[in-house]
């Protein structure tokens, strides 16, 4: 069918439309309104029925598909009441789709990505995720984009295509989380003592007894011995446990007279005027360094 024929058919359709009786127009309007109302009601009914087994994400999509589907059916029926041939409209829509397709590749890509997200379900509405540099709660997942609410209450819209291309971290998928507290301590400390002190700090109500907290010695650095205390907690207690573990660990180390390490750079200058030597020491060595007559700073 060539464009000229299509155009003539469209003109014919419009002429038919103008020739219909006022009652049919009214009936068509009623049909459209009815389609909107019934579509919404059916969508809500499905949402309330299936939200438990399907989850909020899929229910949201299902609700929209249902609402739009019912609305489309009633709209077609309304057009039929007005005497408009659907085949003519579909033909015109075909050409329009090709034209729009070239002009909206990004939107199409987002729609396809949205469908993949729907199937893959890396996160759902209400979960907290990190996407690139943005961390927040998922407010909605649509065919074109997702919306996040950051912790400082900003709305961030991320196109689905970007979501598909980025690494997504879901903070709320699993019921328990581990927190790794990294510390620098004096390298001369007794390691058994250090182990016992840190594990005693992790003996708190919000720290899970199982999986057990563990201490990992990461190695020696210019700031001292780097050590990691890893403890698990229930997801909802994560922030409170993290703050408490910092407080308890520092308090336990202080009570056990184990000093924290920090970067300490000592500059030594030889009296003969030779080149300045720079070396790193932890603060515990400062007294020894100061007693060395060769050290001036």
């Amino acid at each position: 069918m060539d464009p000229e024929t299509l155009a003539q058919d469209a003109v014919t359709a419009v002429e038919v439309t103008t020739a219909v009786a006022p009652g049919s127009v009214l009936f068509a309007i009623v049909l459209v309104v009815l389609g909107i109302v019934l579509g919404r009601l059916a969508g809500r009914a499905l949402e309330s029925t299936l939200s438990d087994p399907l989850g909020s994400h899929r229910t949201l999509i299902l609700r929209r598909i249902t609402a739009y589907g019912i609305f489309a059916l009633f709209s077609v029926s309304a057009l039929h009441q007005l005497g408009i041939e659907l085949s003519v409209l579909l033909g015109a829509a075909g050409i329009l789709t090709v034209a729009l397709g070239f002009a909206s590749q990004t939107a199409a890509s987002n729609v396809v990505s949205g469908l993949f997200l729907l199937g893959e379900r890396p996160f759902e509405v209400g979960e907290t995720i990190r996407l690139a540099d943005t961390t927040g709660e998922v407010l909605s997942i649509d065919l074109l984009s997702i919306q996040l609410r950051t912790f400082d209450n900003l709305l961030v819209r991320v196109p689905n295509e970007s979501v598909m291309k980025s690494a997504v971290t879901n903070f709320t998928r699993f019921p328990i989380r581990r927190f790794d507290l990294k510390l620098f301590v004096d390298p001369n400390v007794d390691l058994d003592d250090l182990d016992a002190v840190l594990l005693s700090a992790a003996r708190a109500p919000l720290v899970l007894a199982e999986p057990e907290p563990i201490v990992i010695l990461l190695g020696f650095t210019e700031s001292g011995l780097e050590v990691q205390l890893s403890a698990w907690t229930l997801r909802e207690n994560f922030l409170e446990m993290r703050n408490g573990l910092h407080r308890d660990a520092v308090r336990a180390l202080r009570d056990a007279h184990i000093p924290l390490g920090f970067p300490n750079r000592v500059v030594s200058q030889r009296p003969s005027g030779s080149a300045t030597a720079i070396r790193s020491k932890t603060h515990r060595d400062d007294t020894q360094v100061a007693s060395n007559p060769e050290v001036t700073a």
């Binding site: 699993f174 019921p175 328990i176 003996r203 919000l206 720290v207 899970l208 199982e210 999986p211």
Partner: protein, 286 residues
């Protein structure tokens, strides 16, 4: 009964060697107006203040350095006049709850309650049950104190908040629980008298053909009721666990345990276990 706080000797005091009349800490609270009822029990200190139109409830848990053996402290109760509102607080209290009423004449009641989650009990030392063997263990678990008015629960707090723990896979289904340790005592006379903990008879029968290391037992405390016997020991129902080669069956035996057959009901279970035999099985031990 007044006891020296932190006295480790009393922690180990054997059953039947002491007067337990003053160990009752549950029941109606009789607090004169402008007075504060102070209950010290185990690691918990609870203060209930009565004012003209208001109750004030404060509580805190003793830190380890405050008390050498806070868990062994027997309950003491006293009534003091309240401080006036303008005075600065003497101590920093962990929590305070104010309950406003038309009149504070409505009596409050202290209620003993089981934990609100399952409790994972781990033997303090490795414990082995030989093939075809069976043991009856006495496991004590921490209690909660609830405050009720007209049978409506206003407030509750654990007597010594146990640590959280997790039962199940780290990434899959599981359940939050509380952690607990047990000495796996089999002689009732060796069980210390601690009226702020509930005693559960746990019968474990190993019907398998291999020795069973008892690593942990999960007791669904919300499904258990509490009973108080004549010497103020608080009991729960007996829990039976039968381990076969390929399955574990567990069940709650309804009613007070035979060790406290004449005990009266202290408080009902928090929630009913799932109905049916399967539900009963799942209710007690996982």
């Amino acid at each position: 009964m007044e006891t020296g706080a932190g006295d480790a000797e009393q922690t180990l005091q054997k059953r039947g060697e002491m007067n337990r009349a003053g160990a009752i800490w549950w029941g109606p609270l009789e607090v004169p107006c402008k007075s504060v009822h102070v209950l010290e029990i185990g690691p918990l200190e609870l203060q209930v203040e009565r004012h003209d139109r208001e109750w004030r409830i404060r509580h805190r848990e003793y830190l380890r350095e405050d008390l050498q053996q806070p868990d062994g402290r027997l309950p003491t109760q006293s009534v003091r006049p309240v401080r006036s509102l303008g005075e600065p607080p003497v101590e920093t209290w962990e929590r305070i709850l104010r309950i406003g009423m038309d009149t504070a004449a409505e009596p409050l009641e202290l209620v003993a309650q089981t934990a609100d989650r399952p409790i994972v009990t781990v033997p303090a030392d490795p414990f082995l049950i030989p093939p075809r063997g069976q043991v009856l263990l006495f496991v004590s678990t921490p209690l909660w104190i609830a405050i009720e008015c007209r049978n409506q629960r206003l407030f509750e707090v654990p007597i010594g908040r146990p640590s959280d723990t997790w039962v199940g896979a780290r990434t899959g289904p599981g359940q939050a629980a509380y952690a607990n340790r047990t000495q796996c005592r089999q002689e009732l006379d060796e069980v210390p008298f601690r009226p702020h903990r509930a005693l559960s008879p746990l019968h474990v029968s190993n019907r398998s053909s291999r020795a069973l290391p008892l690593e942990r037992v999960v007791i669904a405390m919300p499904y258990l009721s509490l009973y108080a016997d004549d010497d103020q020991t608080i009991w729960t129902e007996r829990v039976d666990v039968t381990i076969d080669d390929d399955k574990t069956i567990s069940a709650i035996r309804p009613g007070a345990p035979e060790q406290a057959a004449s005990a009266r009901t202290l408080s009902a279970r928090r929630t009913a276990p799932p109905s049916g035999r399967l539900g009963q099985m799942l209710a007690s031990v996982f």
